[in-house]
Subunit: 344 residues, 2 copies
Amino acid sequence: MTDKVRIALDAMGGDHGVSVIIPGAALALARNPNLSFLLVGDEARIRPLLEDHPRLSAASEILHTDVAINMGDKPSTALRRGRGKSSMWLALDAAKSRRADAAVSAGNTGALMAMSRFCVRMMDGVDRPALAVLWPTLRGTSIVLDAGATIGADARQLVGFAVMGAAMARIVFNVDRPRVGLLYTDAEEVDAAAIAEDAARLLRKSDLPDLDFRGFIAGNELGGGQVDVIVTEGFTGNVALKTAEGTARQIAQTLRSAMRQDLRSKIGYVLARRAFGSMREKMDPNRANGAVFLGLDGIVIKSHGDTNAEGFASAVKLGHDMARSDVMARIQEGFTHVSAPLAE
Amino acid sequence: MTDKVRIALDAMGGDHGVSVIIPGAALALARNPNLSFLLVGDEARIRPLLEDHPRLSAASEILHTDVAINMGDKPSTALRRGRGKSSMWLALDAAKSRRADAAVSAGNTGALMAMSRFCVRMMDGVDRPALAVLWPTLRGTSIVLDAGATIGADARQLVGFAVMGAAMARIVFNVDRPRVGLLYTDAEEVDAAAIAEDAARLLRKSDLPDLDFRGFIAGNELGGGQVDVIVTEGFTGNVALKTAEGTARQIAQTLRSAMRQDLRSKIGYVLARRAFGSMREKMDPNRANGAVFLGLDGIVIKSHGDTNAEGFASAVKLGHDMARSDVMARIQEGFTHVSAPLAE
């Protein structure tokens, strides 16, 4: 990998399409001048926006296609309609064929995951992919995976998630030996507990050089920031992610209407504006925007669909960092350390 | 059922045991003078506390036992140690044998669910119990079930949860025809979506007189308050509950430290105190404390383990309301309406 990092963008993806993607890419370029872009989508809509961003224009190549995946398309529909020709597929294909170092899409998650598995395919030696999301915590950010790439991972697959999550955490958090926890649910009847216990045993036995296994994390400790990486099976991760998003939005709305209830509160709100600002910044989904689809033979970043340019720039930066630090090589290396204990 | 309602209390349950249970019961009695109590636990520890509460003392009978279930006991351990003799078991047994109209425990959830199934057993015609929790929302409170009584309910069992949840909602929210939604996860691979769709079809076909079925609710809409009752399978419900609790606590902590960051914010906080107060009240877990273990042949209420006297009084009040409005008869009646469509 040279110092240059080339990102393929699904320019039509997301709730706002090119109107957010292009300014977002321009922002990312201003901050990381070693970036270049392959802009995949409708040239007639991309070209006019580039006129406002001459530097981006100079650093970009356009790959034209008329076909775009809709935010509401089911994965099966998206695959049928968009395989081989949609902006999402062609961006992924560029990452697969190494014409780009990473692909970034704000398109719909289910479609992106399905297309990634068909187009990019799995990395050698990895048996399950995982969607790794950045989770705001009391102390900063953690990585939670799998947030819904697959359902029902077994103990060995959870160990694989731990290895992949740790490889990502080393890059994102710039730590040598990320702390890793396993999400544990206390629902007695469920096999999940037994699977998590098996995974814990395997992780302890492996004693991996690049991963500091810290045991179990309870569901209500997900945002506590005790560890850098929290590993869980995809269905649980998906439900937790959706619930946390909903709860955060609900509390923000409750707080907003409480602050408008009388004049004193309104004045108090104005005075404490800085505190609310720093709070909002901490919880801002645009700040830590970007999930990584780990375990594929190519780097695929999923941006929130309703992100703004700032948020999309964060997702591009994440793709940049993953490519520049060669996350795939790190994952490969991580798996060489676990293969022995797992084979026993 | 007479106007009098007698509640069996597991006086040793919860993080604080008798020191919260007794004042909590006294508070509930002051508000609902038709209550009487069977206090189950260590008489030597109950008796001194009753001296401060003469009215409660007059309305209570003590059932002595030395055996108490620990908050950390696994359900299997609790059953082995506590079956037939622990304060939790004996309180449940009183509800089962109708020596009490309901049992309330702040003891550990897993143990309470296991003991309830062994001691109280299922109501005739109900094939799965469900833990129904009160969930604070933007507009008030919803009921969410199952929060973890069992794992992997099928479509017919979800319909059963809907019937039981609606029966509870009619009492708690005092509405004739509670709005009911089914939680839907968009994780593509999972059977849960197909099961939820089957359940929706059955509910539409049943067109129940006491239940207004409103279709699907997404995970991030759980706290939106669009419906009175949200039905889901127990594992999902359990993960959602834990995640929501953790997220709410995390945001509260973040907000608290933000408000202390500079003098202006501190002053703003003081001025907006009323707003924060009403916010806190809305989110206060003690206000809406109490989950109902539905589907059993007896009324069983689970209080938060770390509740205070105010919260425990809420749980007692919930038991009182469930008993007084005869929730079991309402559930039975609800099932008579669904039995035909379900049999097809």
